[in-house]
Symmetry: C2
Subunit: 190 residues, 2 copies
């Protein structure tokens, strides 16, 4: 998605070989028009996938997911993220390990919101090692629903998330794929 790549080049800050900061349009400040274009791009890629619901994780996934939901005409669920969670019967809960923060957290979705007939599109802002997307996919499996696909705004393609998700058989669509952040430069795939 050219508009997104342009924005990353112009406003992204390469903090290290591993970390790209996009606080000015995605992760802290949000560019609503760009989010609308991102929503349309996801909708175009998954329009024939029979999507009935979108699941994302708070907070940075919400804006792109809601715009995709608007385009596809389906509800969006944001999984709640917490450090520790008292076990609650009415929630599907999965652990997510963050390599960036070096801590384990839990994400949860109310059982009432997913049913076996759902075909769920998972959306997230970043794909790195795939831990967050895999946790969302396990929640969908817990509900005996199906993963219709995985939509990623920015993929760090030099990490192994994409291959882990494809090994599981999921269709992964990333709107910007970054080959490298070396020497402070963003190099895209394609």
């Amino acid at each position: 998605m050219e508009l997104l790549k342009k924005k990353i080049v112009e406003e992204g800050v390469v903090l290290s070989d591993q970390v790209l900061k996009v606080d000015s349009f995605l992760n802290h400040q949000i560019d609503p028009s760009l989010m609308q274009e991102i929503g349309r791009a996801f909708a175009n890629r998954f329009r024939e996938s029979g999507v009935t619901k979108i699941v994302t994780i708070e907070s940075s996934g919400i804006a792109p997911a809601v715009m995709a939901g608007l385009e596809l005409g389906v509800p969006v669920i944001f999984a709640r993220k917490r450090k520790s969670l008292t076990l609650q019967d009415d929630l599907y809960t999965e652990k997510v390990y963050s390599f960036t923060k070096k801590e384990e957290s839990e994400v949860s979705v109310s059982r009432r919101l997913l049913s076996p007939i759902d075909r769920v599109l998972l959306i997230d802002d970043f794909l790195a090692n795939g831990e967050a997307a895999l946790a969302m996919a396990r929640i969908v499996e817990q509900a005996s629903a199906n993963v219709a696909g995985i939509g990623i705004v920015i993929e760090k393609a030099f990490q192994n998330g994409n291959s882990k998700l494809k090994e599981k058989g999921y269709q992964v669509e990333s709107l910007a794929r970054i080959a490298s952040l070396k020497s402070g430069f963003v190099e895209f795939i394609d």
Copy 2:
């Protein structure tokens, strides 16, 4: 806003005289079309207010704020919420006391994202005692910017948030104002 009131009556769950749960369209699952209508309603009420930025608090404020930002053509900042925060020079930070959770948390916005020329529309999902909105307003003041107004999706008008905000001189626009949740029923003002 009639569409919103209808949704509250049909899908809201009154948990007590004080607590209304709207997890099916705002606080956990999100209805994107309703959010678009909410965004348009906020834009209509603040179109002449010279808004340059919107500030909300993660996570439930993000969807309505992004839709309002799309309509008004301005960026949206979501303040980060944390339990404890190591003091960071590059952040404006304010404390918020939650009467529901009986705990104090902090919200923060990167200094880089607000400047004295900004006229900031504050948006939040709920207004109860006004603590969250007041914390956002103090962040705007820290940046020597101005509050253009406050947009609330659902106001619990039987609590004192609205009068606290109006005492400070802010224009408060709530799309649904709840007079009472007594006996399990939602009673609106107007």
